[in-house]
């Protein structure tokens, strides 16, 4: 028991690792600020592309979405970061994360938006269009607000997944939360810094996980 506490919950080591872990936390937050808006915007684009009239366009979008849903994000990240240099494209870790996760997250957010847009009845479109609104106005003021409300639990739960995904950046040596904690672990030969990092992840994500459960239950009832 004592060995367990000493190995995972060593407060001295946590205190020593804290400054390093906090700089990592800052990088993780920065990553989120880059990756989440990119994914939300890309997802909207993907959703609109998968609803256009051209059948070729719709199929192309669907194949792209399925491709990026089939490839593990870590594989995509390593491909972008250490595969593309062979083709002469050298990226910083941050750029590699932004690009790899843009494709991955846009596909997932895109599917969520699409389900939302499809949940808004055809009549809404026709009514809005016949009152003289343009397609863009209809989307912005009539369809999207309802669509987003209908799929809010999925949007939040996908965002939780995106934040969790940023921890993969540690594999390509971007000094975010997990990377700094793991560095502290290898310096101290003690797992407590990773427990500390896990604590920060819980602090950020537990409220969102609870929120998702509550939103889901409200929509079910």
């Amino acid at each position: 028991m004592e060995a367990l506490l000493n190995q995972f919950f060593n407060l001295d080591i946590m205190a020593r690792a804290l400054p390093l872990v906090l700089t990592g936390l800052k990088q993780t937050l920065l990553l989120c600020v880059v990756v989440i808006p990119l994914g939300l915007a890309g997802g909207l684009l993907v959703a609109l592309l998968s609803l256009v009239r051209s059948r070729v366009m719709r199929w192309a979008t669907m194949i792209a979405i399925d491709f990026f849903r089939a490839v593990p994000p870590l594989v995509l990240l390593i491909f972008v970061y250490s595969g593309l240099p062979f083709a002469g494209i050298r990226l910083t870790p941050l750029a590699a994360v932004a690009i790899a996760f843009f494709f991955n997250n846009s596909s997932y957010y895109g599917e969520v938006y699409r389900a939302g847009i499809e949940s808004v009845g055809r009549g809404q479109w026709d009514a809005a269009r016949s009152t003289g609104l343009t397609v863009a106005q209809t989307l912005r003021s009539v369809v999207l607000p309802q669509a987003v409300r209908n799929v809010l639990p999925d949007l939040v739960s996908n965002t939780v997944e995106v934040v969790k995904l940023t921890s993969l950046a540690s594999v390509i040596a971007l000094p975010e939360l997990l990377y700094s904690a793991d560095m502290a672990r290898s310096l101290t030969f003690n797992t407590s810094p990773i427990v500390l990092a896990a604590g920060f992840y819980l602090l950020m994500l537990w409220p969102l996980v609870r929120l998702v459960s509550r939103l889901e239950r409200r929509i079910a009832s």
């Binding site: 060995a3 399925d66 089939a70 595969g83 083709a87 939780v160 969790k164 994500l205 996980v209 609870r210």
Partner: protein, 227 residues
């Protein structure tokens, strides 16, 4: 050399494809084995936990929901590193594939429990009451009336979630499990060429595209059945 043949030489070099095909194939087998193990144990444990939750014993459910929340909130790679580096220091030595299998099974179990529980809750109370008043006990009601309906509702979300979690087998590369990504990155650093990595990516696509397509199909059928 024009740019097209340079592209082929970087990502699809024929002799490297021949040379690394056996190791990528071996990695694919490892990935399939671990993924299959995760799916079986993860979903089974998730179902057991959801059933335990129906007993509505408050202290047990508080602990259960807390653990499930933690598994849903933590990035899987954090859990993998925690178990992989922490356990040996307290005297528990696990091979790296076992670490990956246990961690991802627990993560899948947590998500599966939430999905099964939502399915069980969606069955109207009247079904329980009707079954009980015709003389069914608690377990027969659960087993023959509630779960068959609940599980059907959970198939599409469970498929998508299972896919998302089995894709995390690629994390095995971080702790040295010889799965696809590990074989591919090893091949890349030995050959100084991106072909093995491209082969690895293609292996994942071949492996997981059918599951993505299945998820899409199930979602569509699910929507029809509710219309």
């Amino acid at each position: 050399m024009d740019s097209w043949s340079r592209f082929l030489d970087t990502f699809f070099k024929p002799d490297l494809i021949r040379h690394y095909l056996p190791s990528i194939a071996a990695g694919t087998v490892t990935t399939i084995e671990i993924a299959a193990a995760i799916v079986v144990t993860g979903i089974a444990l998730g179902l057991v936990l959801a059933v335990v939750r129906t007993f509505r014993v408050l202290p047990i459910n508080v602990i259960l929901v807390t653990c499930v929340d933690i598994m849903r909130a933590l990035p899987p790679i954090v859990l993998v590193l925690l178990v992989y580096f922490g356990m040996p220091n307290i005297g528990i030595n696990l091979p790296s594939f076992a670490v990956l299998w246990i961690v991802l099974s627990l993560v899948l179990a947590a998500f599966a429990e939430e999905i099964f529980w939502a399915g069980i809750l969606s069955i109207p109370k009247g079904q329980w009451e009707t079954a009980r008043s015709t003389g069914f006990g608690f377990f027969p009601t659960l087993l023959y009336i509630v779960l068959p309906q609940a599980v059907r509702l959970t198939v599409p979300p469970l498929t998508n979630r299972t896919l998302a979690i089995t894709k995390n087998t690629a994390l095995g590369t971080v702790i040295g499990v010889p799965e696809i990504l590990n074989q591919a990155t090893t091949g890349q650093s030995f050959s100084g060429n991106a072909t093995p990595l491209m082969m690895g990516a293609i292996a994942y696509v071949i492996l997981f595209i059918p599951v993505v397509a299945l998820g899409r199909l199930l979602e569509t059928r699910f929507r029809w059945s509710r219309a």
